[in-house]
């Protein structure tokens, strides 16, 4: 008996606390969100500020927050201090070809795994998943031997050619998405006499655009940021990509923070631009991977 009376009372009490707690709770949420955002964004703003600051003000105490007047010549000085044009060119080549090749080859493989049948399909897909679990450093030495044998060391080929064969993670994301599209679409197309190739390009690809755009955005970031491979394969200053070029630059201009930050800005800018263009894709993309378990 006591229990039946107690229950509503507890519920009312809990309700009361919630109403009363609503305002402080929301206030707390705002407080944490704002202070957290500031902490997360400050490093980027501090970099921007340092890149535009006159060198003699960098260590000023109290710190100068806003670089007035902006020292744009820092960027000119940085640009002249290393073969930046070569680095940007190399990075653009590696990234542009890489994004197209990775997206296309991963889309083909994902379509094969998700929408067609062939002997051993599911066993092969387990291999795709297994390669995601194995650190690629294990393959690095033989890969180096192989590409060295091809005469590809100190060229961009080792950074470009592997992208022609797709990437396990992108194949996985796209396959998961393709599986969510209704089967009836393929069947209707087949009845109309469409081959699987036509079905892929005219039905699946248009419908899977958000997932494909997600993969392209991820591929852009990965290719642009790729570090271990170019560190190993490229050694003359002009042959570097921007990511490893920055490291070369830091080695030669250590403690010239205004130049280091300007160089970092050049490396970051394309990623920030891509992020704002493809923001929705990034947010959805991670959710798209369908990891419900």
């Amino acid at each position: 008996m006591a229990e039946t009376f107690a229950k509503p009372a507890v519920a009312a009490q809990a309700h009361g606390i919630r109403v009363a707690g609503q305002v402080p709770r929301r206030l707390l949420a705002y407080l944490l969100l704002i202070s957290g955002s500031v902490v997360f964004v400050i490093p980027l703003l501090w970099m921007l500020r340092t890149s535009l600051l006159s060198p003699d003000l960098i260590f000023a105490d109290p710190p100068v927050w806003i670089p007035v007047p902006a020292q744009w010549q820092n960027y000119a000085q940085m640009w002249a201090a290393g073969p930046f044009l070569d680095w940007v060119q190399n990075s653009v080549i590696v990234t542009a070809i890489g994004v197209v090749a990775l997206t296309a080859s991963s889309t083909l493989a994902a379509y094969g795994f998700a929408r067609t049948k062939f002997v051993g399909r599911d066993k092969l897909f387990i291999l795709v998943l297994a390669t995601m679990m194995i650190p690629f450093q294990v393959r690095l030495v033989p890969e180096y031997m192989l590409f060295n044998w091809f005469g590809w060391v100190n060229t961009l080929y080792p950074l470009i050619i592997p992208s022609l064969f797709g990437s396990a993670f992108y194949i996985f994301i796209l396959r998961q998405f393709f599986l969510t599209l209704p089967r009836e679409l393929d069947e209707a197309a087949a009845i109309d006499g469409a081959s699987t190739w036509v079905t892929l390009w005219q039905i699946i690809v248009p419908l899977a655009q958000p997932a494909i755009a997600t993969v392209a955005a991820f591929a852009f970031i990965d290719q642009w940021n790729d570090f271990l491979r170019p560190t190993i394969y490229l050694y003359t200053p002009e042959s570097l990509t921007l990511a490893v070029g920055i490291r070369w630059f830091v080695g030669n201009y250590a403690n010239q923070y205004h130049l280091m930050m300007a160089a970092s800005m050049v490396a970051l800018l394309p990623m920030i631009i891509v992020f704002f263009i493809a923001q929705k894709q990034f947010m959805q993309g991670i959710a798209l991977t369908g990891i419900k378990g």
Binding site: R26, L33, F40, L124, P142, M260, S264, M283
Partner: protein, 305 residues
């Protein structure tokens, strides 16, 4: 007779032609995955300076590896880094996701602020943090506001590794978005059920949110551990493995052995040691998962997922 063979072949291809779509991946798998994987194991049993032919030395590389104090230090450092950065990253990502899941105005701005650093992670990020972590840098200035006298991060054997962990926490946006997607997929009906039973916000959090999020936490920790064992860029750019080897990680050591000192056999053995450590940790996680990951509830039944 030959006509029927041709017909059978045609029929087989009609049924199995889908294999053509995965052909690029399959070729890449054989040449760039399977062959190097097997070859690397073979090379790890040799002494190979790359200039002359490799010579078979059996398990010598592995024996040397086990006795090498630098290797031991790199393994300890890598595990220490993982133990700090993966749980720390998960907790931070989860808290940020819970915050972003509140009904507040301007959520897109906060989400962007938290997520942007993870997109920009890489060399440029490492360079920024060299600057922020100077003894008189912004991090220590910030700590000074709270009366804390900050250490000389990257120059300190005690604080260099935690400094790299801080940098990794800064780019925690990926798991955060994953958790946010998971939180938004929890059906409201479950929270309502807790309310009807008289439960408050805390019991909603502990009896609905946490159990339903465990599959996400599991996935993130598996991938997070695999990733953090491969830590390389920040250590090479920010500390070059120092000071006094305090940030020498397994992959960094492998890079030096292979491409600074051209000891390819030893570098391959190190890579295999890395693989074994990762497999042990991954297997352990799958084993432990049975006791804490909650899979019984099927989202598709209520249309929540």
């Amino acid at each position: 007779m030959s006509a029927s063979v041709a017909a059978r072949r045609y029929h087989w291809w009609r049924k199995n032609h889908g294999i053509l779509y995965i052909l690029p991946w399959l070729v890449g798998f054989l040449i760039l995955q399977l062959f190097p994987f097997v070859a690397s194991l073979a090379i790890s049993f040799t002494k190979w300076d790359f200039g002359s032919a490799p010579s078979y030395i059996g398990l010598d590389n592995y024996r040397q590896l086990a006795a090498d104090p630098v290797v031991l230090q790199s393994v300890v450092n890598t595990i220490y880094y993982t133990v700090l950065s993966v749980p720390g990253g998960l907790v931070l990502a989860f808290l940020l996701a819970v915050l972003l899941n509140q009904e507040v105005r301007g959520i897109a701005i906060y989400r962007t602020a938290f997520y942007l650093p993870s997109v920009t992670a890489g060399v440029a990020t490492s360079v920024i943090w060299i600057w922020l972590l100077q003894p008189d840098g912004l991090v220590n200035k910030g700590l000074g506001l709270f009366g804390v006298h900050g250490p000389s991060w990257l120059a300190s054997t005690t604080w260099s590794l935690p400094a790299l962990v801080i940098v990794s926490l800064w780019s925690v946006g990926g798991p955060m978005i994953l958790f946010l997607a998971g939180l938004q997929g929890i059906p409201q009906s479950l929270f309502d059920a807790v309310s009807i039973d008289g439960g408050g916000n805390l019991s909603k959090f502990f009896h609905v949110t946490i159990p339903l999020m465990t599959p996400y936490v599991f996935l993130t920790s598996v991938l997070g551990i695999i990733g953090s064992f491969q830590v390389f860029t920040s250590a090479l750019v920010m500390t070059q493995g120092g000071p006094a080897g305090s940030t020498t990680f397994i992959v960094l050591l492998m890079y030096w052995e292979g491409w600074q000192w051209w000891r390819m056999g030893y570098a391959s053995a190190l890579a295999w040691a890395l693989l074994v450590v990762i497999l042990i940790f991954t297997a352990l996680q799958f084993r432990l998962a049975r006791s804490w990951v909650y899979y019984e509830y099927d989202r598709s039944e209520t249309g929540g997922g």
